[in-house]
Symmetry: C2
Subunit: 442 residues, 2 copies
């Protein structure tokens, strides 16, 4: 008997979770995957498809009819509906538009509305299902209504009640823990006025940067946040599970950008797409590597008369590149986490320069001794030691200064900073070493 069947048999319907199903499906090969998919409860197909890595979406769509796809969409929460339709469009535009046409008007309207938001905007991450009440509603009635909405599965995972005025503007946020201790016979407003607690909503604007919203969640330890438009009208809510995903995505983006990768192209299963994006960054690197070689070429005569220089020169560049990458990574990450503010720039540069000077001197002494003994030439040791100090110092300075400068210019400090840095450390490394050799040794 297969694993999925086993899982479904051993769990109550209410305990079956899409993530568990996705985990089992991931381990199957293509032929078994199709069979197993047939066993998945139809209500959960949408959630299962979204819980699988993107590359499985093809297989899911290929094994479902348009009607099954429609049903899968209707069972999803609004933000997941948008994600599902987005994936579906990527797989097959025709099927996607067929599915979209069969949806009811409200779903269509909601999806269309959410699709107007850009990936960077808070609105793109909200779900429209919220639990609202009027300030003059009696608590008892609110709770009764809540029970009905829950039974109808119109709303799920509710932690807050949003109190809106008649023009749908958000007035207060009441946690269910607050609601539970309210006087049930009084209206919401009466309870709020009697309480010492604050019900002032911490809210996000739909067009606000999602990065800022993530910072609110982190700083204020929130698990839900209402989203309003420019007029203060309640549109939806963002929940903690969205925030987990966004924090992960942002970190992935930073790591990828530092390494010259495009996160969206890499997610795709198409090798050609990812390869092309990587090539564009490698082109830039080739260009700067050729530039560094031109610098080496300036000293062709020196190199010709002492081959030891050619042997040693990559060491200076490599140490500078690595030390610089250390500084760069720390500064990029701390900028992203908000641990460095604008006023800190000088402090950070000083710190990075101090560390790189310390390490520069340390490795200069070691490498100076190694080179002097290796090639039995004291002054060669002096040359490599001096160029090591110079290059690590530059590495520390530029490793800190480049991301700080990019940030100041409102450019993402993770993009391109690595390539600028290694250009600096390569050029300074080769130039300082070969120039000092030309002056001191000849």
């Amino acid at each position: 008997m297969n694993k999925l069947q086993e899982y479904l048999n051993s769990h109550e319907p209410s305990e079956v979770h899409p993530s568990d199903i996705a985990k089992i499906l991931k381990q199957l090969d293509d032929s078994k995957f199709a069979d197993a998919l047939k066993l998945v409860p139809r209500d959960l197909i949408g959630d299962v498809a979204l819980a699988l890595p993107d590359r499985y979406f093809d297989d899911v769509v290929g094994n479902l009819s348009v009607d099954e796809l429609r049903h899968a969409v209707t069972e999803l929460e609004s933000d997941d509906q948008v994600d599902f339709m987005h994936e579906l469009v990527e797989v097959d535009v025709n099927i996607a538009s067929e599915v979209f046409e069969t949806l009811d008007d409200e779903d269509k309207k909601e999806i269309t509305r959410l699709q107007t938001y850009d990936d960077e905007e808070a609105g793109a991450y909200m779900q429209l299902e919220v639990f609202t009440a009027d300030k003059d509603e009696v608590v008892h009635d609110v709770i009764k209504r809540f029970g009905e909405l829950r039974k109808a599965k119109t709303i799920e995972n509710i932690q807050n009640l949003f109190i809106v005025s008649s023009d749908k503007k958000l007035r207060f946020t009441v946690g269910l823990d607050d609601l539970l201790v309210f006087d049930f016979d009084k209206t919401l407003l009466e309870n709020i006025e009697q309480s010492e607690d604050s019900f002032e909503p911490k809210k996000a604007q739909d067009r606000e940067s999602i990065k800022d919203v993530v910072h609110y969640f982190e700083e204020y330890d929130l698990s839900v946040m209402p989203v309003v438009n420019a007029y203060g009208i309640l549109l939806g809510r963002i929940t903690s599970d969205d925030i987990y995903d966004i924090i992960n995505e942002q970190a992935t983006e930073q790591m990828y950008n530092l390494a010259g990768l495009d996160d969206e192209a890499e997610e795709d299963d198409e090798i050609y797409k990812a390869g092309k994006k990587r090539a564009s960054w490698l082109s830039l690197n080739l260009f700067t590597a050729i530039f560094a070689s031109l610098v080496i070429g300036l000293f062709a005569d020196t190199l010709e008369s002492m081959v030891a220089l050619a042997v040693l020169m990559p060491i200076v560049a490599s140490m500078g590149g690595n030390a610089g990458t250390q500084s760069l990574t720390v500064v990029v990450r701390q900028l992203a986490l908000g641990d460095i503010s604008q006023g800190d720039a000088l402090r950070i540069i000083k710190k990075e320069v101090a560390i790189s000077l310390m390490n520069g001197i340390f490795f200069a002494i070691i490498m100076g001794i190694v080179a002097a003994i290796w090639f039995d030439m004291k002054m060669l040791g002096v040359v490599i030691a001096l160029s090591m100090v110079i290059n690590l110092l530059m590495a520390g300075f530029f490793g800190a200064a480049i991301p700080l400068f990019l940030k100041k210019m409102d450019i993402d400090p993770a993009i391109g900073s690595a390539v600028i840095l290694t250009t600096v450390t390569d050029v300074v490394g080769f130039f300082s070493f070969l120039a000092l050799a030309t002056i001191i040794l000849f």
Copy 2:
């Protein structure tokens, strides 16, 4: 008038938030910082200190008496108490033990217990304040008791009721949204038995890896998770705000490890500590760079008779290093996010080799033409083109294989993989280029 005063005057006490205060304090210089700290409401001092970057902790402690510190600790939740005491020990062991002695026995016991957990264990992140009830308690009484506990500020930010048996074992988790729709006149168990929903708790074990717990939160879209010990006895809970921090910390650790940085040393304000840790990684890099130079040294005669080789050779190594870092970063990150499973190894290696072959051929052609024209020597173009293909192919293979292998060996794939990779790409780059040159050009 200073900014903090302004903020405090313009907000109701219930609306004043530690994070807002921390944000204002961060912008002040040392002398103003001390004055401003005096204005911070004493109940919030602990939270404010924890919301500030670590380097401010010194200043906070320096401006508070032992009694004020004690008060700050008592106002914190248990997990924050541990963090606070941890920071305090770092600043001054004597003050820390003085403060600890003045705490009441329960706080002492809780802190001591939480301190037994390792950083990697779920228990280290839990708070002990939970809202529990017996299965036979009538809902109405539970709610009444909840109101009293909230008034006494014994518990805050509650989203769940944990139902425990008389031996304190966790039986069910009931969301406040469930509780609200329960029949208030019946017992909890009666309500649970009548409901179609599942109240089976998704729980973490205190000695379980915190990484696994984070994955549960992400997969099951949780905002709270109870923590039990090996016997199933309820100990505490982990909340979404902890998860935000942990996801961020884990991503920082990965980025830092990839760049040869130690996250704990970097958090510290001491330059010497961070510098020493960085130096240990740079030492390894120096060692491998010298090894690469030894490889170059094998071809001293070839280099002496054609200086063009010395000029071009860093390009091959640099392109290999960068292409390899791209593969490495993708694989390390996807392993961390759980998007690559063990069975995927072959697929991933194939994919990375395919991309690097594609880009290898592309850049080989470009660089071959450039080199042939630059030094007016067709065969030199052939040599660099061939070595470029070889090195990028190796880069793709090892960029994927190294982290997959480390993961299989249960070693963190982010640690050390970059230095192994660049050793490979340097050595293969220099060797293939110079060996091919020796064979083809002479």
